[in-house]
């Protein structure tokens, strides 16, 4: 059966805080929904096999490979992409730290690393270097050699710890 004969599905997804309703083909991948239907091209894709981490977005706060997820499965859920990290005025501390630490060069893998790092710090801000390395082992970067990325995340974790202590 040709694609256009398949039933179209109406979905409602909260993307970066805004609820969007669209009609999609059932086979539409989440990454294509974000990039092509919504024009959120910050999310990239590369391996298409869930091993490079480039296409990582957060669905209800959990990191997900958008290249191997269906848009229909995001129906009724909250999706956060790299465009949702900053509030439009100030960058997220991870974004600042990545720039300061030169944790990217070509930048193609960066949205995935940022989303993965956010998931990690949201989950457990008390991470040490070993845990950061382990958590980011599923994301590939071909430019940096990883050290600056790990350093960038470590710095934000340290900042967060400090802020918590001050708040206490």
């Amino acid at each position: 059966m040709a694609a256009d004969q398949l039933a179209q599905v109406e979905i409602s997804v909260e993307v970066n805080g805004t609820v969007v309703e669209r009609v999609v083909e059932p086979r539409t991948l989440l990454v294509d929904f974000l990039r092509e239907d919504l024009g959120l091209t910050g999310t990239k894709q590369s391996c298409l096999l869930e091993v490079c981490g480039v296409c990582t977005v957060l669905v209800d706060g959990r990191p997900v490979s958008s290249c191997t997820s269906l848009a229909v499965d995001a129906d009724g859920h909250k999706v956060t992409t790299v465009e949702g990290l900053s509030d439009g005025k100030t960058m997220h501390p991870l974004q600042e730290s990545f720039v300061d630490n030169h944790a990217l060069q070509c930048g193609f893998c960066t949205p995935g690393f940022l989303m993965m790092s956010k998931a990690l710090l949201d989950e457990s801000p008390d991470v040490d270097r070993e845990e950061i390395v382990e958590y980011l082992d599923g994301n590939i970067c071909r430019c940096t050699g990883y050290q600056p990325i790990v350093q960038a995340v470590e710095q934000v974790a340290a900042q967060m710890r400090q802020e918590r202590e001050v708040a206490r």
Binding site: C106, V133, E134, I140, T144
Partner: protein
């Protein structure tokens, strides 16, 4: 888990050997001499990239655009009998299926050295994965679906799957015709110093052959105290730039526009103009940010496919490859090398004699130049009184090979450096000492009639080995290894740049150098800010649009800082000359009374005008613009080839688990001899990136053919370095002696630290387990076999 420690420091040390000062300095306290350069400024492109707003080719769309999917050969070598397209064409949303038959009125081949590369398989296919048809549809999904329905029938031809098979007498020919000679005229000049080229009149599978030599090699071997012979294999690699090749093309009555993942937009433009017989001015090639390059995006790749598709249907076409298609578009040449070296009793090299064979795949692409450079670089930056080297780039029925970071250097360096280490071991001298005795000193020639080396390799070697020794662990199965390399870098020196001074004193830089992650956007802004004495935030940089910027031959061979940088310095000087002349006219004084100040022009009697004010007052209507032009050719400081030497100096410390063969990387030390680091943080970042890619080839990466096709054309089975593979200690050293021809004494960087990594790892493993590996990558199985003395065949 051991604690990861960070050691990133610029080393201070004595200037050894050549009498110039050592310019090492900490980043926190840059020289007072400069305002902007020499500082680790925040790279502006990084901000766009972390926000997700940076535009890559993959993000580009055009109104009315169709989507393309390529139908690829599933045979290694076969005659095309028929391509049945009717079923695909009958599908909804399918607009056209383009085959070679549609291209008969075009010059449907490309290739800047040998014009052997058919856009679509014509009459036959020469490798599994070769494009044979392009399906065009209104959506990507429709194009993918219909591509499955294109039915190609073949008659198999005998194939040659390895270089060894291809070199057998009377082997099946990958190309049974001779193609017209070099399209790129500078190729000959780039290789002129490497000896005669022997293109025999009879057809063979040798795409290109290079010989190099001097002195009486046979006599040197006859009188040698020691002769060491080594044979090594450097693996077939895939560069894996994470954004696969993709392009959007629009052919219409105004000409051809292609937006693409190209490092060299001007070279791509030239190929496209030849295909359509269009004036160069009618072909516009733009390269936005590249999602990785590493040499893999140099020269023409998918642009002709997208362009001919658009030409056939008269609508814009977008073609995006997947990673497996990218692997079947361009991979890296492997290198099988044998080297003999003659030494005297003190370990001094008397002669080197070597032969290198590279498997270059079905089409030449840039492999002839990769081969030539590999042969040039294989014997190392040593004093070699007698030399005989030969290299052959061989056609096989495999994915075409071309440039990759290091440009032929890693393939030969592995053999040359491990050969030297083995000699040291046999002579009972240290691996450091044998290098100290043979390394060329500053200014000494490596290649006859070429620029002498513009680096202090002995001082650099000492910094690296001292660092390694300082943290060497005294435990079993621990080894350190190090190596050195020097590349005749920079490619052919043809660069231009333009600067435009605006009415508010801000400056726009136009450059044809592509931003692929290496940081050229930021670097060029730093240089312009320095030259005009203005704040870096008042500088914009526009790059890589052949219809709008300034010509740059290539973005490769680590040339941008040196050559594009030099062109930019000259463009700034040209603009400042014009501004001084304009000010002199405004002040009715002699131009000799006018001088430059930071962001201003100064005149007699304390007169001073901001740069922008000079522009508006001279034009008279609060408007206008002043353009400066900078040109670099093979003249003056860039007359001698190469424009600069890019050196590599790398050491590793490894721990081997002899039970499993697993290697743990304990130390990674690099030293970049860059003359002057315009952005030190960016240089260190490039060095770590290059060394890490080198570690990929040394430890994990290898494309493996299983019959006609690759067994691992994906990122699951082709394993690249990951975060967990990082060295426990990383020490990135910079040597800055202001000895380059680039701006402020800078030389290029970014590739050098990849080149010696393979040999250094092999050497460290040999020290750890007492046996010499001969091929990379050193996977756990290979190391386990080596440690337990079990051959690969058992």
């Amino acid at each position: 888990m051991t604690a990861h420690e960070t050691e990133q420091a610029t080393q201070h040390g004595p200037g050894a050997g050549h009498g110039t000062a050592f310019w090492g300095r900490a980043h926190e306290a840059p020289s007072e001499e400069f305002r902007t350069v020499g500082r680790s400024v925040r790279r502006r492109d990084l901000v766009e990239k972390v926000l997700g707003t940076a535009k890559y080719t993959v993000d580009v769309t055009m109104p009315g655009m169709l989507h393309a999917r390529v139908v690829r050969s599933d045979r290694a070598h076969a005659k095309i009998l028929n391509i049945e397209t009717s079923k695909a064409l009958s599908q909804p949303d399918v607009v056209a299926v383009v085959t070679a038959d549609d291209l008969v009125h075009l010059r449907a081949r490309f290739g800047h050295i040998i014009s052997d590369h058919f856009i679509l398989g014509t009459g036959k296919v020469r490798y599994f994965g070769e494009p044979v048809a392009i399906v065009l549809a209104e959506s990507r999904a429709a194009a993918y679906d219909a591509a499955e329905l294109v039915d190609v029938s073949y008659e198999d031809l005998p194939a040659v799957m390895t270089a060894a098979e291809a070199l057998v007498k009377d082997a099946p020919l990958v190309h049974d015709v001779l193609y017209d000679a070099t399209a790129d005229a500078t190729f000959k000049e780039l290789t002129e110093s490497e000896g005669e080229e022997d293109e025999g009149p009879h057809l063979t599978n040798v795409a290109h052959e290079v010989t190099i030599g001097w002195g009486d090699v046979d006599e040197a071997f006859a009188n040698a105290h020691l002769v060491v012979e080594t044979e090594t294999h450097y693996p077939m690699l895939y560069g894996y730039a994470m954004e696969p090749y993709n392009a959007v093309a629009s052919y219409n009555e105004t000409g051809l526009t292609v937006i693409t993942t190209a490092q060299h937009p001007y070279m791509v433009r030239d190929d496209l103009a030849r295909i359509f017989d269009l004036p160069l001015a009618k072909v516009r090639v733009q390269a936005p940010y590249l999602g990785g390059g590493y040499g893999t995006k140099s020269y023409t790749k998918v642009e002709p496919l997208a362009a001919v598709a658009s030409w056939v249907v008269g609508r814009p076409v977008k073609l995006m490859l997947t990673v497996d298609e990218a692997i079947y578009t361009t991979r890296v040449d492997d290198g099988q090398m044998r080297m003999r070296t003659a030494f005297d009793a003190e370990g001094r090299i008397l002669a080197r004699d070597y032969e290198l064979v590279m498997d270059s795949g079905a089409y030449a692409d840039n492999s002839p130049l990769v081969l030539a450079k590999s042969v040039n670089r294989a014997f190392g930056p040593y004093r070699v009184p007698a030399l005989r080297g030969r290299g052959r780039s061989v056609y096989t029925n495999t994915s075409p090979a071309s440039s990759y970071r290091g440009f032929g250097a890693p393939q030969g360096n592995l053999c040359g450096e491990t050969n030297l280490d083995q000699a040291a071991d046999q002579l009972g001298i240290s691996r450091r000492e044998i290098r100290r005795r043979n390394l060329v000193k500053w200014g000494e020639e490596i290649l006859p009639k070429n620029r002498g080396i513009d680096a202090d390799l002995i001082a650099d070697l000492d910094m690296v080995v001292d660092s390694l020794e300082r943290d060497r662990k005294d435990e079993p199965y621990y080894g350190i290894g190090f190596g050195t390399a020097a590349s005749d870098a920079g490619a052919y020196p043809i660069s231009t740049a333009q600067v435009k001074v605006e009415t508010d004193g801000s400056v726009i830089v136009l450059s044809g150098s592509t931003e692929m992650g290496q940081g050229s956007t930021s670097l060029l802004a730093q240089v312009a800010a320095e030259e005009f004495g203005i704040d870096i935030h008042k500088v914009s940089v526009i790059q890589s649009d052949t219809g709008a910027v300034a010509y740059e031959r290539t973005t490769g061979a680590s040339r941008t800082t040196t050559l594009a940088g030099l062109a930019l310095v000259r463009a700034c000087a040209d603009a400042r000359t014009k501004l001084r002349e304009m000010a002199a006219e405004l002040w009715s004084c002699d131009v000799s009374e006018v001088s430059d100040g930071p962001g201003v022009v100064n005149g007699p009697e304390g007169k001073s005008l901001d740069l922008g004010k000079v522009v508006t007052r001279w034009f008279g209507g609060s408007a206008g613009e002043v353009t400066g032009v900078g040109l670099v050719r093979r003249e003056g400081v860039t007359k001698e080839m190469p424009p600069f030497w890019e050196t590599g100096m790398v050491g590793v410390g490894v721990k081997v688990d002899v039970e499993t063969g697993q290697i743990t990387l304990d130390q990674l030390v690099t030293c970049a001899d860059v003359g002057f680091a315009i952005n030190p943080q960016a240089v260190e970042a490039q060095d770590l990136g290059a060394a890490t890619q080198g570690l990929g080839g040394a430890l994990f990466e290898e494309l493996v053919y299983d019959g006609p096709q690759l067994a691992n054309a994906n990122v699951v089975d082709y394993r690249v370095p990951r975060a967990g593979d990082m060295a426990r200690k990383i020490d990135l050293l910079l040597a800055e002696r202001r000895d380059g021809v680039g701006p402020y004494g800078a030389k290029g960087a970014g590739e050098g630290q990849l080149n010696p990594v393979g040999g250094a790892v092999a050497s460290a493993v040999a020290q750890a387990i007492g046996r010499w590996p001969s091929r990379l990558p050193l996977t756990p199985e290979r190391v386990w076999r080596l440690a337990n003395n079990i051959s690969d065949d058992d």
